[in-house]
Symmetry: C2
Subunit: 131 residues, 2 copies
Amino acid sequence: MRIGELAKKLNVNPKTLRYWEEIGLLPPPKRDSSGYRVYTEEHLRLCQFILKAKAVGFKLDEIKEIISLIYSGTSPCKCVEEKIRSKIQEIDELIEELKLRKKILQEILKKRSNTPAYFCPIIESISTFEE
Amino acid sequence: MRIGELAKKLNVNPKTLRYWEEIGLLPPPKRDSSGYRVYTEEHLRLCQFILKAKAVGFKLDEIKEIISLIYSGTSPCKCVEEKIRSKIQEIDELIEELKLRKKILQEILKKRSNTPAYFCPIIESISTFEE
DNA sequence: ATAAACCTTCCACCTAACTGGAAGGCAAGA
DNA sequence: TCTTGCCTTCCAGTTAGGTGGAAGGTTTAT
């Protein structure tokens, strides 16, 4: 299968596939007599894996590492499990940070409804700011 | 106060302050006879506001807009309140997305503990992937 | 007086993950 | 045959929010 067909199946831009190859994420496929890339079903499945991993928040660098762990063979599952666990922790930390931000914003709204011209302790200064 | 002093008070790089000025976030201060920027207390307070807004997740573009709303005077509080509400909603959506990702990752771990060589439906293909 | 520390502008570079376009080669259908 | 559409490489640009460094002027402390 050529790059356009693979790209269509994955719903990505052909340029993206070339980019993945360039950064070492996707193994370079064989070329036909005209120099066109010829992808296999394994390439398709690997790309689907990449897309799924991306969708749950892994960066391409991390996916690359996971793929090379898988290929390395030395108890890759333990390592991949580690990666997943630390990604979950990362997500947890981000959720906590977001909840904190939300709380701060909600408090600003609450204070604002009491004292009309209030946004946060700095807004008064801003209102009177002159260049 | 000159740029170094302001930067120190805010704990940011002087370059950051010039950058903020460049993108129209911070009003250009007066210059002294040597061409050095001379900031006022109002600049300091505006910068503190910028940093707080950044900390709760506003982008510089959004902060710029909020600042210009405040300056515009036409019922700015209503508009700012809108911005805050939509930022809260944005945060809520992100939290939901993150929870979903976490759930997917946890399910992968659960399945993995049952069937040792399992990462996700694609891993088998990857394991047998050959270039 | 002179060195260190500060300031200026300008240009370029960083991350992340692409995307666009130019210039050119090949392929498939009418 | 001709046109459309695919493919190649290479170069450069995008977003967001800065950061680094060069070349040169100023100020402050010793």
